[in-house]
Symmetry: C2
């Protein structure tokens, strides 16, 4: 374990509780899904094939530290005994009166609770049948992913993935949109101006700005285009060169 790992496991991310998971492969895939979005705290309730499970480890690959530190419990009440707020993921309506939340809203709440020092858990049921009513009754609220009602096929790891994704997304400092610089410089204003002048002069000579009453608007549109294109310095050189070469070719 590296110090970085410790930081990951100490982060107050939701505890993902796999209740009576069946296939080791799915436990491993869930660990990967979690770690993709910085969630490392896993608990297992009565895994069908015992624990540790070599198939889980093989599938987890780089996410095996999640499995190594996973808590294993005989019953759900033991697994969530120290948790302050518990969500149950379930696709179907239940005969239980309880709030039903989107993953987004639930993870908004989870972030607020975590900031208050509360421990949040999310329950995921066995692959085939999902959580029993017995399990759901122990949760404070239900998470239901709003899927196409005519087609629902999310598997265990995909459900874990969406919950972990929402938790990460809502706390992410990734800017929603950046312009990748890719090691190159954008053209300065003066370079853009000179490029604009070059094209404008040659185009004027070629009789492009016609009829005269539209010339000013056409020039303005061109200036605006150069500014809008996010040209790099290399782009500007390319465009100068293209224009020169075309005129040279014509002159022949």
């Amino acid at each position: 374990m590296t110090p970085k790992d410790d930081e990951l496991f100490d982060a107050p991310t939701p505890v993902m509780v796999l209740v009576r998971p069946q296939m080791g492969e799915n436990i491993g895939a869930a660990a990967r899904a979690m770690l993709n979005f910085g969630c490392a705290r896993m608990r297992l309730v009565a895994p069908r094939d015992g624990w540790p499970n070599p198939k889980a480890t093989a599938m987890a690959s780089g996410a095996s530290p999640v499995l190594e530190r996973a808590g294993v419990f005989d019953t759900l009440p033991q697994a969530i005994g120290d948790c302050d707020y518990v969500y149950a993921t379930t696709a179907r309506g239940r005969g239980l009166t309880k709030p039903v939340l989107t993953p987004e809203r639930a993870m908004q709440q989870a972030r607020v609770l975590a900031a208050e020092g509360k421990r949040v858990a999310v329950l995921f049921g066995p692959e085939r049948a999902g959580l029993e009513n017995e399990d759901v009754a122990r949760a404070n609220a239900i998470i239901t992913v709003p899927v196409n009602p005519a087609f629902y096929s999310l598997n265990l790891a995909q459900c874990v993935l969406l919950v972990a994704y929402e938790y990460a997304r809502l706390g992410s400092d990734t800017p929603p949109e950046v312009l990748a610089m890719a090691g190159t410089d954008f053209a300065t204003s003066i370079e853009r101006e000179k490029l604009g002048d070059h094209f404008e002069d040659r185009l004027a000579e070629a009789g492009f700005f016609h009829p005269p009453e539209k010339a000013q608007a056409m020039r303005l549109n061109l200036r605006n285009m150069w500014a809008r294109l996010h040209l790099t310095r290399a782009d500007v050189q390319t465009l100068h060169g293209m224009l020169r070469q075309i005129l040279r070719g014509q002159g022949r």
Copy 2:
């Protein structure tokens, strides 16, 4: 095909373009991931094992209509020829100057474009290596899922799943939080009042509201609790019965 299917395929959801996909199973899994969130328009560029692919069909199961209507193209330019705006999904930074967006921001844009009648495409690369720079150069913008930088393991279908999920989420009319009624009625105010009275009377007789200077605040807290609990009519009957039975038991 049912009329409902036609509606699904006519919806202006993003066209999901799998570029040189390798495993049939992953094409099928991508179709399922799409259909979970109401996206049905798939295109394939030069699938490695030809088309149709029985392994894709087997994996797609209920999502096989997505595969049956998928367009198949030899080259990427052919596949996106009629698309107005193209996103390329890629994990790594590229030597290409281009906007890089989160899935959320990209799908916000995609909804605006779709509302204007524009056709949006999202490109997904082959399983092993992802999109080539040749492919990315043909896109208007890049989508990068903000994952844990120390661990990235999203597979093809998971990447499709997250993009389709974001598209659906941003247009969803699912309320972020509802209280499931589960076929039962909530208690009316008068029923809650009577329950409050019942408990208050019996608790007063038992000397619960002590010391006297705190009695009023204690009564208020109790009233507030009953109101806050979202009790059903059945809950109210259960609580009346519990109180009566406890007092009966004590009287013996």
